[in-house]
């Protein structure tokens, strides 16, 4: 590809080529058998030019020299043809020179036969999913995605950046029915940059036993009460609370209005940066590309901006946004290295990467014993938030009441709702390192054309005061 790039004849102020080659296996096992397996090879290039202040994109999966030259010609023509309608006059400052390599640091690398070993271990895991008493087992499933993405970024101002990310998911889940009610329990969905060692047979077995026990508890539990009480959420719910009500509203392209027709905009304004108290003083949120096992750890984003750890919310105050060099120039607000593209066929836009909550000082026991009337909720099962990212509602798989400093009755169908800044202002205690987990999402959707991206969230358990909670039923 480097040779092709050297030979190209491009009449533009700047040009860049991204070659993205992804191999991804999705494996699904159910009730001790193979439910589906697909290995996809997706290999293509994005030709990008800057002409008279406008970035213009043409993507193709034909990797011959002629095809790539044609893509650059077409990108240049596209920019010239639409010049008079250009929204903003960009420059090369939005495409800094990036040179280097980055590779996922996983313990045991995958090879071609790894998937057989994983399949056997997943089959074995479903054998340990059981229910007791009169409950009827409906399904036992184990799923994984193992994905390798290689990116080469070359540009006319000397960028030569090679990146190889190994990203995986691991989902264990089961459903069962008792007295006409179905309940489900999962391992909360695990994601990260990890290797074959993560699919350890004994660890999978232990997780199956654990979710079986908790599924039995909720099958026999009462519905979650409807009232206002303190809410404690573990990382398998906290990550999505952070994602939806901190990550998305902080995206600068939402504030700029790019997303208004699809994902929505934000309740935040330009003036809120540096002034708005977003949450309680315990709340410290960072953009952190340095945790190697987290999904979006990398050195450079897809425009060549260097990724470094940075505070977005410090002591509860909003200090910087999730915005690329393009958005920073347009809005005049400080951002991070977050211009990312789903693959070779989509242009880079503002995305979350690793958006983390820095740990606090409380243990689980501290938080439970400090709660008079509360509820613990684990593992997300439902989520929804408005297009300004303010009014949210979440549901979890497993609930347990906290009464007079002790965990008591298990409840089913636990849900809560609230509004963004009042909720984060009610953050009362924050878990320490022992409660922290590296989590995230493989499927954050946004953009026109639509793009999904993989984002990491390393978060601790958290306790909030006076939250509206409720149960299920029609």
């Amino acid at each position: 590809m480097r040779d092709i790039f050297k030979k190209l004849n491009v009449k533009a102020d700047w040009w860049g080529l991204r070659h993205i080659n992804q191999t991804q296996t999705s494996l699904s096992v159910r009730d001790e058998k193979l439910d589906g397996i697909n290995t996809g090879y997706d290999n293509g290039v994005m030709a990008e030019v800057l002409v008279n202040g406008q970035f213009s994109f043409v993507a193709t999966n034909d990797l011959s020299f002629d095809s790539i030259q044609r893509a650059f010609d077409q990108a240049t023509e596209q920019a010239l043809k639409n010049e008079k309608w250009n929204l903003y006059n960009f420059s090369m400052e939005q495409r800094p020179k990036a040179v280097g390599t980055y590779s996922s640091q996983v313990k045991t690398q995958f090879d071609k036969s790894s998937i057989y070993e994983i399949a056997d271990n997943l089959v074995n895991a479903t054998k340990f999913m059981t229910v007791s008493g009169d409950a009827q087992l409906m399904s036992r499933s184990a799923r994984t995605i193992v994905s390798d993405t290689e990116t080469l970024f070359l540009s006319s101002n000397g960028s030569d950046y090679h990146q190889k990310l190994t990203q995986c998911t691991l989902d264990l889940g089961m459903a069962a029915s008792l007295n006409g009610d179905n309940q489900t329990r999962s391992n909360g969905g695990q994601v990260g940059q990890f290797g074959l060692d993560y699919f350890n047979k004994d660890s999978l077995k232990q997780q199956s036993i654990e979710i079986s026990r908790e599924l039995n508890e909720i099958l026999n539990a009462e519905n979650c009460p409807s009232d206002t009480r303190d809410l404690m959420i573990t990382p398998d719910q906290m990550y999505l609370q952070v994602h939806e009500s901190i990550g998305h509203p902080l995206e600068l392209d939402r504030i700029l209005g790019d997303e208004r027709n699809y994902a929505g905009w934000s309740f935040l304004n330009k003036e809120d940066f540096g002034t708005l108290q977003y949450g309680s003083e315990l709340l410290n949120v960072t953009f952190d590309p340095t945790i190697t096992s987290e999904l979006a750890s990398y050195d450079f984003d897809d425009t060549g901006a260097k990724a470094e750890k940075k505070y977005l919310i410090k002591g509860g105050k909003l200090v910087a946004g999730i915005g690329s060099l393009e958005s920073q120039a347009r809005l005049g607000v400080d951002g991070v290295s977050c211009a990312r593209m789903q693959s070779w066929n989509r242009p880079p836009i503002d995305r979350m990467a690793n958006i983390n909550v820095e740990t606090g000082t409380s243990t689980m026991a501290d938080m439970i014993s400090a709660t008079e009337k509360g509820i613990l909720m684990k593992a997300n099962r439902s989520w929804s938030i408005d297009d300004y990212r303010d009014k949210f509602q979440f549901g979890c798989e497993y609930g347990q009441l906290i009464e007079n400093g002790k965990l008591t009755k298990v409840v089913k169908n636990p849900n809560y709702r609230g509004q963004c800044t009042p909720f984060w202002t009610n953050l009362k205690m924050l878990g320490d390192e022992s409660t922290m987990e590296v989590s995230g999402s493989f499927y954050c959707g946004k953009g026109e054309p639509n793009q999904v991206i993989r984002v990491g969230h390393a978060v601790p358990t958290a306790l909030f005061s006076n939250i509206e909670v409720f149960g299920g039923g029609k």
Partner: protein
């Protein structure tokens, strides 16, 4: 060479490449090959200007290989250069053979079947003859618009080791947009078709601009609680989209995740006014699925409130021993139509009387699957109405309501008129198809925040 001549060549190439891949099979091996391709022009807009122009040309095949009671699949891009494509394709077939020896047994396998071939290339000009950005943007310079224009041909094909061939190409465009007032209130609309018509486009944006003036009325602060509510077709189709997500799937039912489980078991019911069918006569998507099975023109799923059948793929059919209705692999709705009712669109405000008029909904999700309960937000042009007159736009509200209520006991009626909503999803690739839905007047709809 015209775009359609090129596509006809691509169709031929796909069959010829497929035949060569099938030739590498042993007698106990089976293969189904699917094709998807597109040449798409995207223009993304903000503030009635061009934010990003992107052109994407992508073509890929998927291989589903069966041997030894194992079913597994691979996919790869193709470049229409046989020296490149055949080499990689044969490597993948060799991998398939090895995988089939080493993977656990499949839940079920669906062997390829012979059948009647089909080829449909809908040769329309879409927006190929216009200067898109000028045509779209010039009449919008007096207003703040955000949105996306998408156009170009999309093709799907199937070939299997029994020699079955299917091909479908459509060439359409859509301009999916929203307009914003100075007070940042918005209306949403879409102009879609297979041939750009300037007059129709100008009429479409004029309707939106007119509605936008209503959004500048003072905002009414509506308290949560139960309200009489009209859901415009755009809002109903959002609910239909969520229903597609596991509520009508046989596999989801058997696995304990089906939102209409209680409807299926006869423990809950929907209104006799609610009927839902798969109707491929909409003509927006091919009738064949990814296995090359051809679906019936019409399939009644819910008739007068009663569940007639769930969507059953041949995979589920083989596993659960129930008849297949050729649903796709995920058992999602392919071309759903909700039967219209007796309410005239002109009378909607009068019939609503006092309550909420909701043009769109946003971010829907099941809040309690077993109760078929959905939560989501109001979005874009949503008004408070008193005695049949619009009072003003509302501050967005969250709803949380069971389909057994809003399309059951609380359903007043659907409108006589329906709207077709083209599928505008573009994750990974352009989706085709769409749905048809009327508006719905609901006696009591529950808002929580």
């Amino acid at each position: 060479m015209s775009v359609f001549d090129k596509i006809k060549k691509q169709e031929k190439y796909f069959y010829s490449l497929s035949e060569k891949l099938v030739a590498a099979l042993a007698s106990d091996e089976h293969l189904t090959i699917s094709y998807s391709g597109e040449e798409t022009q995207f223009y993304r807009f903000n503030q009635s200007k061009l934010r990003q122009a992107t052109n994407v040309s992508q073509n890929a095949i998927g291989l589903t290989f069966i041997k030894n009671n194992r079913s597994l699949s691979k996919s790869m891009n193709i470049s229409f250069d046989e020296s490149v494509d055949l080499k990689l394709g044969l490597e993948l077939i060799a991998d398939c053979k090895q995988d089939a020896e080493n993977l656990p047994e499949s839940q079920s396998v669906v062997l390829p079947q012979a059948g009647t071939d089909s080829s449909q290339i809908i040769e329309t000009e879409a927006a190929s003859l216009i200067d898109v950005t000028t045509e779209v943007l010039a009449p919008l310079q007096d207003v703040d618009m955000a949105g996306i224009f998408v156009s170009g041909p999309v093709s799907e094909g199937v070939y299997n080791s029994k020699g079955l061939k299917h091909w479908f190409t459509s060439n359409t465009f859509y301009f999916d947009y929203s307009l914003y007032s100075a007070k940042q209130k918005a209306v949403k609309n879409c102009y879609a078709g297979s041939k750009w018509d300037s007059q129709k486009y100008l009429a479409n944006i004029e309707t939106s601009k007119q509605l936008l003036t209503k959004m500048d009325l003072p905002v009414v602060n509506v308290k949560p609680g139960a309200h009489r509510t009209y859901l415009a077709p755009g809002a109903v189709s959002e609910i239909l989209g969520t229903m597609s997500w596991g509520s009508l799937s046989m596999s989801a039912f058997k696995q304990g995740y089906c939102a209409f489980a209680k409807l299926k078991e006869g423990k809950e019911s929907l209104s006799p006014k609610f009927s839902l069918q798969e109707n491929f006569e909409l003509g927006l998507s091919p009738k064949f699925n990814e296995l090359g099975e051809v679906r019936a023109n019409k399939l009644n799923l819910i008739e007068n409130g009663e569940l007639k059948t769930l969507l059953v793929s041949s995979k589920s059919s083989a596993e659960f021993n129930v008849p297949s209705n050729q649903a796709n692999d995920y058992e999602m709705l392919g071309s759903p139509v909700i039967k219209p009712g007796n309410l005239s669109q002109e009378d909607v405000l009068k019939e609503l009387g006092t309550g909420l008029y909701l043009s769109n909904l946003h971010y829907l999700n099941w809040s309690d699957r077993m109760s078929a309960r959905i939560t989501g937000m109001t979005r874009f042009a949503c008004f408070w109405v008193e005695d049949g007159e619009i009072v003003g736009p509302i501050k967005d509200l969250r709803f949380d309501e069971s389909l057994y209520n809003c399309f059951g006991s609380e359903l007043n009626d659907f409108t006589k008129e329906s709207e077709i909503n083209p599928n505008t999803m573009t994750y990974d690739k352009r989706y085709i198809g769409g749905s048809s839905a009327p508006g719905a007047l609901i006696n009591k709809f529950n808002f929580t925040l």
